[in-house]
């Protein structure tokens, strides 16, 4: 079959959080150019189960690039070679028959490994819980059109709001910083009039929580933007910094 491929995979295996891990090499002789990358892992796992071995664990859910569950480092790049694409949306037509692919989990102090390629990203939830919201109890809202918002602001807020919380930004950052994730939410809410009343407390709490979770600081490498499956711009980080300075000095 014209589309069939023989792929070699070097996959990080680690039985648990406190166990030493290492690479294992596997052959997938019946890969196919139309498969998604995760379907390649499915085929590998079916093979492993049939041979009596444990399958490779990886997080995945929607497989449409929107839930943010999946995320592995592929040949050294978070989510792999295709720009603005989560690894569930990466397809094997970008590889050639005979290729070897190396797969690793996100590596960051803030994301402890659970098993194989699965990591614990609950730190992201705690960053949001520290202030990544607008306090508006159900039922208290006024009519939706009573608050006009310039289209340009609404569109830019939407650009930042598309973050899927996958953690690729952290995995790609030399400092394992969660700045892009944190800043995307701060930038979205600071662009909207609804977010104004809490803008100072929000930025302070979220930035502090990010540090507390063990994520590093941003030193402008911009690796995060390069791997972000939603193409979120690091201009969000400059917005976050401006907001932070304003909050500290006012």
């Amino acid at each position: 079959m014209a589309n069939s491929m023989n792929i070699t995979l070097k996959v990080w295996r680690q039985a648990g959080p406190d166990v030493k891990g290492g690479f294992e090499t596997y052959q997938v002789p019946d890969a196919n150019a139309h498969m998604s990358f995760l379907e390649l892992l499915d085929v590998l796992n079916e093979q492993l189960i049939k041979e009596g071995n444990d399958p490779v664990e990886f997080d995945h859910d929607c497989r449409e690039g929107i839930c943010g569950s999946c995320g592995v480092v592929i040949d050294g790049v978070a989510h792999g070679p295709q720009k603005r694409t989560a690894c569930c949306q990466l397809h094997m037509r970008h590889y050639r028959d005979g290729d070897t692919i190396v797969i690793e989990p996100w590596r960051a102090e803030g994301f402890p490994i659970i098993k194989d390629l699965v990591v614990d990203r609950s730190a992201f939830d705690r960053i949001i819980a520290s202030g990544g919201y607008i306090s508006a109890n159900t039922g208290a809202a006024q009519d939706a059109n009573s608050l006009p918002i310039a289209k340009a602001d609404a569109d830019l807020a939407m650009d930042y709001a598309t973050c899927i919380g996958c953690g690729a930004c952290v995995a790609a950052c030399p400092n394992a910083s969660a700045s892009l994730f944190t800043a995307a939410k701060i930038a979205q809410l600071s662009l909207l009039p609804q977010g104004d009343p809490e803008r100072k407390t929000r930025v302070k709490s979220m930035v502090d929580q990010m540090a507390e979770e063990g994520f590093g600081d941003c030193s402008n490498h911009a690796e995060c933007e390069a791997v972000c499956p939603k193409g979120i711009s690091i201009s969000s980080i400059s917005r976050m910094r401006r907001e932070y300075v304003k909050a500290m000095t006012d």
Binding site: I49, E57, C62, Y133, I134, T138
Partner: protein, 637 residues
Amino acid sequence: MSTVLDSKIPAGPLKDKWDNYKNTIKLVNPANKRKHTVLVVGTGLAGGSAAATLAELGYNVKSFCIQDSPRRAHSIAAQGGINAAKNYPNDGDTVWRLFYDTIKGGDYRSREANVHRLAQVSNNIIDQCVAQGVPFAREYGGLLDNRSFGGAQVSRTFYARGQTGQQLLLGAYQAMSRQIGAGNIEMLSRREMLDLVVVDGKARGIITRNLVTGEYERHFGDAVLLCTGGYGNVYYLSTNAKNSNVTAAWRCHKRGAYFANPCYTQIHPTCIPVSGDYQSKLTLMSESLRNDGRVWVPKKQGDDRHPQDIPEEDRDYYLERRYPSFGNLVPRDVASRNAKMATDEGRGVGETGLAVYLDFADSIKRLGRDVIEARYGNLFEMYERITGENPYEVPMRIFPAVHYTMGGLWVDYELQSNVPGLFVLGEANFSDHGANRLGASALMQGLADGYFVIPYTLGNYIAGNSFSAITGNEEAFNEAESAADARIQKLLSIQGTKTVTEFHRELGQIIWDQVGMSRTASGLRTAIDQVSALREEFWQNVRVPGEPTTYNKNLEFAGRVADFLELGELMARDALEREESCGGHFREEHQSAEGEAMRKDEDFTHVSAWQHTESGHVLHKENLDFENVQLTTRSYK
């Protein structure tokens, strides 16, 4: 013995029912709310909005999700939009019209009072979401923009690019997060609900399994809210996320909750076609594309010319031809069935012949590529990633795929199942969409249930009942936990030769072939036999690798496939019992000469609610009374 179910619809004229209800219910004193613990299972639009709202009100909430974060619930993948009767475009929309379109869209198989309430609160949802900072699309003047969806002749759909579900879910997630930060919600992620615990006839607890450590946990409170989504993954291939499953709902069913209308499933017309047998899931292309895309197939069978080489006179824009007033925006069930008819006639396109074209050439010519890109850019990109083809230049190839399930656990007007204290919200219940759901209505229902319905109905239940003190050590908890453990041990002990995925694929193929877009009595009987045989084989020959005490996805999936193997049979039985065609349930024996669905109102204007008993399933009925809407043959011509 079969009984007739009471839906507890409030008295009074349709438009006053919800107000009458709210005016007469019992309330819980603010200071007393924190004494009541509510367990909310699932964190999608229904569960997320319910948990946040109940915590804001002062209840003590415990929330559970199977993913690593509540933000990943599958509501996040909804693309197109959310309906509301705001009438901002001034095109004639009203609460009544939204109600009527939804009832008609559901082919007159839903409850008038529920649907009317849904239409009434639809406007509050938009207000609430904007207040939370949901960045809906706006016009240059700064006001909200709308677009059209299938089954409606007004523009009432609010949207945030092609990621409306994501933005609404993040709104609910952030509202929840605020309550988590404040200590009012205890969030338990990577937990799977394995059983419902009923004490003294009331739902008082659940058994969960920690998916990282394998530990069982007992959680208890005064009510359980099941917000666990639909069962579309029974078909194996669907647009649902891989973790979406029926297990929590099915275990409630086995503890006494009735399962209503399981045969009502929605096959969405615009999905990317299957490319090979490794396929793990299907991807939806939003219905909003039908605003500007035209659906066609070649007029002649086996015409394998490149689409650009097929001249206008050799193309059949079959939806525009058959349904001139709704055209490409007919409801989903109609569009899907017509795609099937075209491919059955040998006029399908692409390598497999199981696809039709969705063509944007005319719109690009009329509006310019920039406009089309602004409207659908992310969808076009997604299509290109998956297929390797550029839809700006070549028409999209699309085919129907399983997307949503209208059936679910039976609930009354208060969203309470027949098990007291067990409430069911969102897609997990059966209540509002009848036999077919209109586009942009799922988000509306999930958020209506969670933000605006359950805060009232739960309060009425809590205030009207007394709750004995429990500790989680009652016999009912012991029994449920040992049953859950026994199942897991059994699954691991079989060590057969077929993988969980192999069984799931086989099940999916049977259900797709026989309980899919078109159904016959003989096909359904075949399905019942085949599913039952496959289930038997599963319990003798499944191979589940690994340990129960570590992260083990195959073990999770094994439990879910086991439940799908039971549900699949009930779906076929329900479809066999319903000797009519309505909405997504199309029985070939019941169609007009033109191939349109034919209902049998005199025999089937009821909800079929199935009770699980030791000796098999028993059917109960809830009669649907239409006092405000006249039942007519649904026509979109």
